[in-house]
């Protein structure tokens, strides 16, 4: 049975009177699927991801999580902390903190003991293969290492949905392969739902379903939600 986890219902997002990033978008993401979102620059891919991440409000329409409108959800902090994990296109790691601290900072505010937090960080660092770099700071890392650190941070609170905005955009082929392998493992083994924005056709084909956005509208869907 396909269980909707995130839905966009007639979503419109405009920035001022002239810029419409999304226009009447309807989309359902089911639990456990890997959805790729492609499109040209400015098509509205990242805006859709931001709305799913509750970083912005739609101008009209609704974003639903398990049927509940985010606009009526009292504690969006909890949603951002526990339901979704976001990997930003430019990773947005804090440059003055080590890889470990960048991951752990996402867990601050949860009722976890220090020991549990330290253990969870060690687990994530090992999962993304950054054990040797864990006390380094972002400026000392390669692009691939930074992106892996960002994924580890996004996974820190074991989110139900991983929202990744062009995570392979700045990576070389070897790191792209490694990163996609990591996402596949995550999707397959822990049934983490993945919504990944990409403009790379090869990367998009690794997902179970691909939607194409153009000028703020979904114009093409390949594959079915699984």
């Amino acid at each position: 049975m396909q269980e909707p986890i995130l839905q966009a219902v007639a979503v419109r997002k405009a920035f001022g009177p002239d810029v419409v990033a999304l226009d009447r978008v309807d989309l359902t993401v089911v639990r456990g699927e890997w959805l790729a979102v492609s499109g040209t620059s400015g098509a509205g891919k990242s805006t859709l991801l931001q709305l799913f991440a509750a970083l912005d409000h739609p101008t009209s329409g609704r974003i639903l999580y398990r049927g509940q409108d985010l606009a009526s959800m009292g504690d969006l902090d909890h949603y951002r902390r526990r339901v979704v994990g976001v990997v930003f296109q430019l990773h947005h790691l804090l440059p003055h903190l080590s890889v470990r601290d960048n991951i752990e900072i996402a867990m601050m505010g949860r009722h976890l003991s220090r020991r549990d937090r330290v253990a969870r960080v060690s687990e994530l660092v090992a999962a993304v293969g950054l054990e040797a770099q864990q006390i380094r700071r972002p400026p000392e890392l390669s692009g691939g290492e930074r992106q892996r650190a960002a994924i580890a941070r996004a996974l820190a609170n074991s989110p139900e949905v991983l929202l990744a905005d062009e995570p392979t955009g700045s990576l070389d082929p070897e790191n792209v392969t490694r990163l996609l392998g990591l996402l596949e493992t995550l999707n397959r083994e822990s049934r983490t739902t993945i919504v990944m924005v990409t403009h790379d056709r090869d990367v998009a084909e690794r997902a179970g379903r691909l939607i194409h956005i153009d000028a703020g509208r979904i114009v093409e869907v390949e594959g079915a939600a699984s």
């Binding site: 970083l55 912005d56 902090d77 951002r80 976001v86 930003f88 903190l97 006390i135």
Partner: protein, 381 residues
């Protein structure tokens, strides 16, 4: 780190420290600004308290329940009470004794630029609480006899029989006394009439030390004296001292004004720094909100950083205040006048001032940080 499991957890305090350490120059400069405010506040307070203590020490002399002096005198040593008024006070119902004392200072040497001299009639020594500990009392009209407080004698290495030059006059030390009180015991004592003559203040004293009869109400006696002598004021507590020492009141008012100005300057500088930091770190705050940080946690972070800067500023400020006060204490113009006392209160005041600066200055920037919408913050360049 040495191996798996030995890593430190990221605490809120460590995060604040790392945030501040990552912007060393701004943190340092802002802390210096706070330090200058704290230095001004602490130094002014130390100086005022020292002068207040010196002035109020007069209250403790004379074995009195309260003193009577000229109302609204510029300072206590400028107070003028006539012999007639002294007699009037002594005849007030409920008064046991009323001792008129002429008090002034003279320059003994560089180390004692404000050496206290007390003029008392020999017959008033006992009621004033004077005990002769060596030698004898001076004669009532002796123009070249002096007594020294026993601590003053030790300090300047004099004893009974020695001579002491005051201005152009050479005095013979005829006795050492104790008033069981530091200010009195580090002073000198002269017969009243010759001192009035040499100071060109015939028939006047500076203050009257009043003892009340057993069973009489001190407040009632004070009231009677005040009613009978409208130009005199009675003082029992140090907090009332401003009634007979306007300069001290002016000094305290100036201290309050300067403290407010120093606090405002500190607040404005820290607020400016925190606002600049907010603009620079907009995206960082957006990331934290995107990671699920609550507004309250973000507000706490900004306030915590401001308080962290302020605590550094407090430590620096106390150090600067001690240096400045030391230089004032030993500088040529104030040498001997200033005797600052450092206490927990001094350091507590510095810390509270600095924390106050930090909290007030960070309120607006922290609220702005808390109100940021993550999406907007992440779009900022």
């Amino acid at each position: 780190m040495s191996g798996r499991g030995s890593y430190r957890s990221l605490t809120f305090m460590r995060l604040i420290f790392q945030d501040l350490a990552s912007r060393r120059t701004r943190t340092g400069l802002t802390a210096v600004a706070v330090a200058i405010s704290v230095m001004a506040i602490v130094t002014l307070s130390l100086v005022t308290k020292s002068l207040e203590r010196s002035a109020a020490a007069v209250l403790q002399m004379g074995n009195a329940d309260f003193i009577v002096a000229q109302k609204g005198a510029p300072d206590i040593l400028s107070s003028v009470v006539t012999d007639t008024q002294v007699v009037g006070v002594s005849k007030t119902a409920g008064v046991q004794s009323a001792v008129g004392a002429l008090i002034d200072t003279f320059r003994l040497d560089a180390a004692h630029p404000q050496f206290l001299q007390i003029g008392l009639a020999p017959g008033e020594l006992a009621p004033f609480g004077v005990k002769i500990v060596a030698g004898r009392a001076y004669g009532a009209t002796a123009t070249n006899e002096i007594m020294l407080g026993w601590q003053a004698a030790q300090d300047i290495h004099k004893s009974v029989g020695d001579s002491l030059k005051v201005g152009a006059t050479s005095y013979r030390i005829v006795g050492l006394y104790s008033l069981a009180q530091v200010s009195g015991d580090t002073a000198s004592m002269f017969p009243l009439i010759p001192l009035q003559a040499s100071e060109h203040k015939p028939g006047t004293v500076t203050l009257v030390a009043v003892q009340v009869r057993a069973g009489a109400s001190i407040d009632q006696v004070r009231k009677r004296i005040a009613e009978a002598n409208p130009n005199l004021a009675t003082v029992r507590l140090a907090s009332e001292f401003g009634r007979v020492d306007r300069n001290l009141e002016f000094l305290k008012a100036a201290q309050s004004g300067a403290t407010i100005i120093a606090l405002l300057i500190g607040i404005i500088i820290v607020m400016n720094s925190m606002l600049l930091s907010l603009i620079e770190r907009m995206r960082e705050f957006g990331v934290l909100r995107a990671l699920g940080w609550s507004r309250r946690r973000l507000v706490s972070l900004v306030i915590g950083e401001a308080v962290g800067i302020s605590v550094i500023g407090a430590a620096l400020g106390v150090g600067l205040a001690v240096l400045l006060t030391f230089s004032l204490e030993h500088g040529s113009s104030l040498q001997g006048y200033l005797q600052p006392q450092y206490s927990g209160w001094t350091f507590g005041m510095a810390l509270y001032s600095a924390i106050g600066i930090g909290v007030v200055a960070s309120l607006y920037p922290s609220l702005r940080a808390g109100m940021l919408r993550p999406g907007d913050a992440l779009r900022k360049e």
